[in-house]
Symmetry: D2
Subunit: 142 residues, 4 copies
């Protein structure tokens, strides 16, 4: 599902298995969570709460973005994305969204979102977010 981008090594992690050192070793990060009560899942929050001493502030100036899926339109997917944006800003990351549209009626201004299982256009928005992350990472490290 995660493909290599030219000159960029991509690593996929699940929050239960992720190595906190990966935060320090990555020039960019995209985090995602289901929309649980309009906020990232407690499991994702736990990971970042518990790695404050390892990585908080030390990732300053690195690139970050977020994505989420909710059960319904108006069900909090943007809110959950913004809870992650909030956390990422707090950690010191440079955070972004996409002005671009993946298709008419589908965008990712604060990060990528989906209602239920992501359809073709919602997946395209995720891919655009990944490419833009790679682009910013290259620019910040050139």
């Amino acid at each position: 599902m995660v493909k290599s981008l030219e000159d960029i090594e991509v690593k996929l992690n699940h929050v239960g298995k992720a190595d906190p050192e990966d935060l320090l070793n990555s020039d960019g990060i995209i985090i995602g969570s289901p929309t649980h009560c309009g906020v990232m899942s407690w499991k994702l929050k736990k990971f970042f709460d518990e790695n404050v001493s390892t990585a908080w502030g030390k990732v300053e100036g690195k690139i970050a973005a977020a994505f989420s899926s909710s059960g319904g339109l108006g069900g909090g997917n943007e809110m959950a994305v913004m809870s992650m944006v909030n956390l990422l800003l707090n950690y010191g990351y440079l955070v972004f969204g996409l002005p671009e549209y993946a298709a008419p009626g589908v965008t990712a201004h604060y990060g990528a979102v989906a209602v239920g299982e992501p359809d073709e256009n919602e997946i395209k928005a995720c891919e655009m977010l990944g490419k833009k992350t790679a682009e910013y990472v290259k620019k910040m490290n050139s």
Copy 2:
């Protein structure tokens, strides 16, 4: 478009013509705005900024909710709704959303939202928000 509810008088206002006294004279309020850059429109903000001396704090404990429409999924309709929720909390309103779904995949957890022109289900979510506002207004004034 706005229908009378049993025992509830409903008044529809446009922000350019609204009388600030209406804020004081209403037991409940639903405000809406297009999603402009993820925040309520400057025109709606201007109305509330300019009526701070008339109504801010004086509406404490009244019922309020919000709605918005954006050009795309992930385009900020929840964010715009939350900018209104933020303002309404600041004014002193009791604010709510709906756990209920209008249809599979359509809800209004923070207020009603639509992508583009509201479809049948998004309109149903707006109606549910209106009915719930009436219900809370009655309960608070019984």
Copy 3:
């Protein structure tokens, strides 16, 4: 620390020990958390994530508010409070803040906040939030 209010029974709970049924049995709730990365702590989030089947939506129309303390001004105490407001709206609660000031320069427009250990004025803001919760609970149940 929690005192009885006239006609109102108050129960103090810690998140590790709280009985989910208390959400159903309470007419109002005030939740608090330290500010961890600008979002409520994962422990509080876990409690609400895990009690979705018990209480989500079933508490609709009950009264709720939030409070938080951060290490610094600008360090996320309002953001953490809003992460709880977000969750409470999602659950179906009627949520509020205070227009009133506890002292010059200290208020609780979105819920009560403190920088570090709460001082006298910040504690007064908490007490005001508690009294207002009691007032709204009485009004909704009269």
Copy 4:
């Protein structure tokens, strides 16, 4: 009040007089507003609403941050800063805050904030935000 930074030309603008072209001609931007009802002032919102055709999306990848002052602690200065962060993300900017503290108990995790007239430490936080903006602008344009 705004001083030149090494190799960086700094331009101070008031929202009523600002030239929209400045958005296009600047590699970085810091926007500020009083906290009015927890959201940026309608005047600042008007500027960005009216310059969507000039600059929205065209500033993608440029650096941005925000600051605000409120009448009270808990009065919405973080919320107002986040309303600007929201807008800046929507426009396509890379947005950041500071993990660093300006003094014990004073930081700018989402942008710089003040309660009332900024004191020495709150001004220091603003200066740190300016310096970091300059640093990121240089890095993105090297």
